[in-house]
């Protein structure tokens, strides 16, 4: 067990090192061929553009660690965005109260996922596929697909568009969330229990881990984070519409998997996810600044994902092959 864990650990470290090297290579490459890519302004833009997906990816990491998945985060972002607009414009709430209520709704929506998955023991893929449609459908029904919330006060738009102490305001929220999730996953018993559940839910249960409560916790957290991402998204665009965050769940999952978290659960890290988010965001921005067609971003993200995964598995495969060869040689010599 101990050696096994150690083996996984070295692979994990290797993966993140590789990913960091890829990220650095991307940066150097686009800085060389792109126009005004490595500027401070653009760095801030990259940060701004990746905050929402970054937040969702952070929340997705513990979920995938437990062997689950949450496909509903993008739809929930859309629902929370328009509810935030409703609370502010139609219910006349001040922005902070509207934001608090929105986060409450996010927690409730996450709670819905959590109760179906943790207590009814339904598969997360099916549950969140259902709520994926449900949340987006609700958002569209509430606004009839056309109502748009806009004209937010400048003090609120500051969160999405301005800089505070020289860095984009929403990046501070993102950094705070990153630290929170890093501590949760890597420095608490919660994090260890997520991994244990990911390896074997039954084993974790026998080991005395309250599996249901732990699983519920990660989905509720994802709901809360989706709501926070919705508020940041609204501040960045200056508008809230029912189609906000379309497709973000897949970007988030891609970033998590690129960051080295196993889709089967049990293995993964928050810093890996952060590197995954950064690698994708830098790629998107770099392609635009190198005046390459935007479609390439999707294509190269795919290539990156496959390369990074292959790169982290290759050393292990090679050593396995060697071990097998050596094992074959031994009987020959004895014979």
């Amino acid at each position: 067990m101990d050696t096994d864990k150690h083996g996984f650990k070295t692979v994990l470290l290797r993966h993140e090192t590789i990913l960091f090297a890829v990220l650095a290579a991307e940066w150097i490459f686009f800085d060389a061929i792109g126009q005004n890519f490595g500027t401070y302004d653009n760095t801030c833009d990259i940060l701004r553009h990746s905050c929402e997906i970054g937040l969702l990816a952070l929340a997705m990491t513990p979920i995938i660690l437990t062997g689950g998945i949450d496909l509903s985060v993008g739809s929930l972002l859309g629902l929370c965005a328009i509810l935030f607009g409703k609370f502010w414009r139609d219910a006349g709430m001040p922005v902070p109260l509207a934001a608090a209520c929105t986060i409450g709704v996010g927690a409730l929506a996450g709670g819905l996922n959590a109760s179906l998955i943790a207590w009814l023991r339904l598969p997360p893929l099916i549950v969140t596929l259902g709520t994926f449609s449900l949340f987006r459908g609700l958002a569209e029904a509430i606004t009839h697909g056309v109502d748009t919330f806009t004209d937010f006060p400048a003090s609120f738009l500051f969160l999405g568009q301005e800089r505070w102490l020289g860095i984009p305001a929403q990046a501070l929220v993102f950094i705070a969330a990153a630290i929170f999730f890093w501590l949760l996953v890597h420095r608490t018993t919660f994090g260890r229990s997520f991994r244990a559940i990911g390896f074997s839910p039954e084993g974790a249960r026998y080991a005395g881990i309250p599996v249901g409560r732990r699983v519920a916790m990660v989905y509720v957290l994802a709901g809360i984070i989706s709501a926070i991402a919705a508020i940041i998204y609204t501040a960045r665009l200056g508008q809230a519409k029912a189609d906000a965050g379309t497709g973000y769940e897949l970007f988030a999952i891609t970033a998590v998997v690129l960051g080295g978290t196993s889709i089967f659960g049990g293995v993964g890290s928050i810093h890996g996810t952060l590197l995954g988010v950064a690698a994708i965001a830098v790629l998107h921005s770099g392609i635009a600044h190198a005046l390459l067609p935007g479609e390439m971003a999707g294509m190269l993200t795919g290539v990156l994902l496959i390369l990074a995964l292959a790169g982290s598995i290759l050393p292990k495969t090679i050593s396995d092959l060697r071990a097998r060869k050596a094992a074959l040689k031994i009987p020959k010599q004895t014979a």
């Binding site: 090192t17 005004n36 990259i46 890597h186 960045r236 665009l237 600044h289 935007g294």
Partner: protein, 343 residues
């Protein structure tokens, strides 16, 4: 050991982040350097943003835009969203801001949302024009207005009257009874009829909910309800092929004429079969061409607020109404010219 490796990873990450933010190079304008400066004109970089990239309508707009940019010697960047994320247009514009383009020409999917990014561009000294779908007025200098509701209403009614020789009954298929643009177009059709063609009578207005199938079933019902019907007029693009299918299946090809707003490609078959007589829209390539000419002139100071006319290369003079540059009268696609267009 365990602590050490973890700390190392965190440290690397931190170093990465500070490295990224530390690269504080001054931004350079995009167009200096190897530009074509022998002719003494300044090469501009114009960024052209469609609502979506693969859409045939915008592809043909972009063709006109590229032709204009080639004539002017400007560099044209065309990029647009390929996925349905409504934030993507903002990201593209923000990338263009740091890239340092001179002018941005945008067709706006989300009026309020993209205006945020366009205002930011203006604050950085980038000129902004819009085409096809406008932003908020304070987020751009000029809007290329492809057609006014009155222009569309008049063109539809005039074409209907021409086909019916200003006499007889017709029916209207509309996208929806309440949508703003549909209401405006219908009211101008009626205004034109009352003013110029008093001998024509509108029997009915039916909504097809922007569905081809519904346009077809509504038209079938109209054909049996009003035996003297001479023409069906659709104010929505899916109405035209829907009505055409109904007329064809009722065996009334040619006896009942069919016209409306629409795209050439989805109507070609019916136009060649003689079911549909005319499809009305604007020349999308001309819209792109005008947009790039206006963008270029705006950046060079040749186009200013208050101008009454604007000359765009080989297309000649355009009227300017306030901050709208008018593309002019809609274009009628018919049997003779429809194959020249691909969108």
């Amino acid at each position: 050991m365990k602590f050490f490796t973890k700390r190392l990873a965190a440290l690397l990450l931190l170093a990465g982040l500070t490295g990224l933010t530390g690269c504080n190079k001054p931004a350079e304008p995009l167009s200096t350097g190897s530009g074509n400066q022998t002719s003494g004109r300044k090469e501009l970089t114009i960024a052209f943003l469609p609502k979506s990239k693969g859409n045939a309508y915008f592809v043909s707009c972009a063709k006109g835009a590229q032709r204009a940019a080639d004539e002017l010697g400007d560099k044209l960047i065309i990029d647009g969203p390929t996925d349905p994320d409504p934030a993507r247009q903002n990201e593209i514009v923000e990338n263009w801001i740091t890239l340092g383009v001179n002018v941005i020409a945008a067709s706006c999917e989300n009026k309020e949302g993209i205006s945020t990014a366009l205002r930011k561009a203006q604050a950085k000294g980038i000129k902004v024009v819009t085409y096809d779908a406008d932003a908020l007025p304070d987020a751009r200098s000029f809007f290329m207005n492809q057609a006014t509701p009155q222009g569309i209403g008049d063109a539809l009614m005039d074409e209907a009257a021409r086909l019916c020789e200003s006499n007889g009954e017709f029916a209207v298929i509309t996208g929806s009874l309440t949508a703003g643009n549909q209401v405006a177009w219908r009211s101008y059709v009626e205004e034109r009829r009352a003013a110029a063609y008093p001998n024509m009578k509108c029997d009915a207005v039916e909504a097809c909910d922007d569905l081809k199938d519904k346009a077809q079933s509504e038209t079938t019902a109209l054909l049996s309800t009003y035996p003297d019907l001479k023409l069906v007029l659709s104010t929505t693009s899916l109405g035209v092929p829907g009505a055409a299918e109904a007329i064809k299946q009722a065996g009334k090809t040619g006896a009942v004429k069919n016209i409306g707003l629409g795209l050439p490609n989805e109507n070609k078959r019916y136009v060649h079969d003689g079911v549909t007589q005319s499809v009305i829209l604007w020349k999308t390539a001309d819209l792109g061409y005008l947009t790039v000419y206006a963008a270029d002139a705006l950046a060079k100071g040749a186009l200013k607020p208050g101008d009454k006319t604007f000359k765009a290369g080989s297309l000649g003079e355009f009227q300017v109404q306030g901050d709208n540059i008018m593309l002019g009268k809609p274009f009628t696609f018919n049997k003779d010219n429809i194959d020249l267009f691909d969108f």
